[in-house]
């Protein structure tokens, strides 16, 4: 619970003075004295589109519920504003009569409950399709929920998550829920794909935790498949020998998944997210960037098939939720369809236009030395870049694929990896990574 203590809200002196602003955001108009009113007058920075905010707030909610399921109180606390009030609209018995009553709890109360519930009991809260409302820095996510303790159905109701935008991203600033046992549909279930996606995300978090508590080299040897690969400017490199040749050291590499996709057949998945590197655990951060990992499920567990990243993103943070990408469209799994895109479409002086035309609206763009970008406009590169396709992999369900190779531009060279997803409009680029 140490992290919770560290997160206790710092009460600003004079909070009562500024608190008046609400009624009287009001008077601000008249007196223009309070800092907030001045802020309201200044134009805020350009805001993300509703779709982006909507995805972000739902990912915070789902990450919080997943953290409850996996008992990850550190992750749970990262999704909550420390001052979050929790209100429970339920019933109490008074003299044999059921009376409606409001229960009062808090962010520390929630994390404490998760930390102290019986270890063998899965706290399984599932939500239906959420209703999402966003206005400026405020968002509201309401959803029907069902709560199970392990296999045992407990109750249902409505969850209302209120989120606020902070300089650390969207956080849950209030949580209220109703509790009932009548009229529960008892029909919320995870699809096999959702279960596989969560299993993979858990494998990613376990991988990161291994690196945190032991060392990076041993963590990689635990996570990598025998045939795991990475790429450099010369081409494909087997990954295990690279780590086997290393000695365990005190270098500290930390990362979290921020985006996860999964094939419909639950055999192949992809994660991306931020990483931070320190010479030792207590040293200052010396490197930051984004990773890209392809996971395959073998008979035993999820293992890493391809792993590489880019550096130089100084804007990233590790307290982010994971975005679970919605399912694509299944079809025939022909790798040639993908490598043909690499070889015949994304070529010549017009390669960038071709790439943008194939990109999904929310494509994630990983470029060496640049912050994470999203959307086709974030795809960048010189016209003179030329690519050399070296291979790829497609899931058996034909809805998720990867292609990779090298690139050259005059004296510069490097490698690329593209993640593809089949949509109703055909294959679309969902992650594009170019680096050294």
């Amino acid at each position: 619970m140490r992290h919770l203590l560290a997160n206790l809200p710092i009460r600003r002196p004079g909070i009562r003075a500024t608190a008046v602003v609400r009624a009287v955001s009001v008077l601000s108009a008249v007196s223009a004295l309070s800092a907030l009113s001045l802020a309201a007058q200044a134009a805020p920075p350009p805001q993300p589109a509703y779709a982006a905010d909507s995805v972000a707030v739902v990912s915070v909610v789902k990450t919080a519920l997943e953290a409850m399921r996996t008992r990850d109180t550190v992750l749970l606390a990262r999704m909550l504003h420390p001052s979050m009030p929790m209100r429970i609209a339920a019933w109490r018995r008074a003299g044999g009569v059921a009376l409606p009553a409001i229960g009062v709890d808090s962010a520390p109360g929630w994390t404490h409950f998760v930390a102290t519930a019986p270890a063998e009991m899965v706290l399984d809260e599932r939500i239906g399709e959420p209703l999402v409302q966003v206005d400026g820095n405020l968002a509201n996510v309401t959803a029907y929920y069902e709560f199970r303790r392990g296999e045992t159905f407990s109750h249902c109701g409505a969850d209302e998550f209120v989120l606020g935008r902070t300089d650390a991203g969207w956080k849950i600033i209030a949580l209220s829920y109703s509790v009932r046992t009548d009229g529960c549909r008892k029909d919320l279930a995870f699809t096999p794909r959702q279960l596989a996606l969560r299993e993979m995300v858990q494998a990613e978090r376990a991988f990161a935790q291994y690196a945190d508590t032991a060392n990076t080299r041993d963590a990689f040897l635990w996570a990598l498949r025998d045939d795991a690969i990475t790429l450099d400017a010369e081409g494909v490199k087997p990954m295990r020998p690279i780590h086997q040749a290393r000695q365990p050291n005190r270098n500290h590499l930390a990362w979290v998944p921020a985006w996860a996709d999964m094939s419909a057949d639950g055999t192949m998945g992809v994660t991306t997210g931020p990483w931070e590197w320190r010479a030792t655990r207590d040293a200052p951060v010396r490197g930051r960037g984004q990773f890209l990992t392809i996971w395959l499920k073998d008979a035993e567990r999820w293992r890493v098939f391809l792993d590489l990243g880019v550096g130089g993103d100084s804007t990233l943070r590790l307290d982010v939720p994971v975005i679970e990408v919605a399912p694509g469209v299944t079809g025939r799994a022909r790798l040639n369809d993908l490598t043909d895109l690499d070889r015949t479409r994304i070529r010549g002086d017009g390669w960038l236009d071709a790439l943008r035309a194939l990109a999904a609206p929310d494509v994630r763009v990983l470029r060496e030395g640049m912050p994470l970008g999203t959307g086709p406009a974030a795809l960048s590169g010189q016209r003179s870049v030329r690519f050399n396709s070296l291979g790829g992999r497609v899931a058996g369900s034909g809805d998720l694929a990867a292609t990779w190779g090298t690139w050259k531009d005059g004296g510069m060279k490097g490698s690329y990896v593209r993640i593809w997803k089949r949509t109703r409009d055909g294959w679309r680029l969902v992650v594009d990574r170019m680096g050294d």
């Binding site: 500024t18 608190a19 008046v20 602003v21 609400r22 009624a23 009287v24 955001s25 008077l27 601000s28 108009a29 008249v30 907030l36 001045l38 802020a39 309201a40 200044a42 805020p44 920075p45 001052s83 209100r87 609209a89 339920a90 019933w91 018995r93 009376l99 409606p100 009553a101 409001i102 229960g103 709890d105 109360g109 409950f113 209703l131 409302q133 206005d135 400026g136 820095n137 405020l138 509201n140 029907y144 709560f147 303790r149 407990s154 109750h155 109701g157 409505a158 209302e160 209120v162 606020g164 935008r165 902070t166 300089d167 600033i173 209030a174 209220s176 109703s178 509790v179 009932r180 009548d182």
Partner: protein, 174 residues
């Protein structure tokens, strides 16, 4: 219920699962329309109270545990920073009571979205705030209400606040 922390369990023992006794069976519930109207009356009473400076009427709409948050901006070293302000109901009422006597505190509301589930309700509504006849700012008010033995009460309030993209078309007193 899920987080039923030990504290809450004392008061809401019925809702703790498995090893606990079954929850008390609630009485038949009113139809959505009745709850929805009752919930909106609370919201309208609140702003009527603000217009008429009737803080007693305002206070009566709140549950004692109600809190308030505001999602706005504040100047920071690198420009504006998104910030969550923590407010108390007493601060709001104090602000209303202390505003210049001849100034109308006119929070005009657009069409609300009302959701009700059991003893929980929420209202999401676009607002425009006018100090007297002078437009100040707009945003969204979010009210969370809980059913109590004394009727629906506000248990949480949040608002966003902006001066861009305000339609400024809500009629006076709406």
């Amino acid at each position: 219920m899920r987080f039923l922390a030990p504290l809450a369990a004392l008061t809401f023992a019925g809702t703790l699962a498995a090893q606990q006794p079954a929850p008390p069976v609630p009485p038949p519930q009113p139809p959505f329309g009745a709850d929805s109207a009752a919930v909106m009356k609370v919201v309208h009473d609140l702003f009527t109270g603000m217009r008429t400076r009737d803080t007693t009427l305002m206070r009566a709409q709140f549950h004692p545990a109600a809190t308030m948050r505001s999602a706005g901006w504040k100047p920071g070293p690198g420009g504006l920073q998104a910030v969550i302000e923590e407010d108390g109901v007493a601060d709001w009422l104090g602000g209303v009571a202390g505003a210049p006597a001849n100034l109308l505190l006119d929070e005009r509301l657009g069409p609300p979205t009302v959701q009700v589930d059991g003893n929980l309700a929420n209202v999401w509504v676009y607002y425009e705030f006018y100090a007297g006849d002078r437009f100040s700012h707009c945003g969204v008010d979010l009210f969370t209400l809980g059913r109590t033995a004394e009727g629906w009460k506000v248990i949480f309030v949040a608002d966003s606040r902006r001066r861009t993209g305000c339609a400024q078309n809500l009629p006076k007193g709406s």
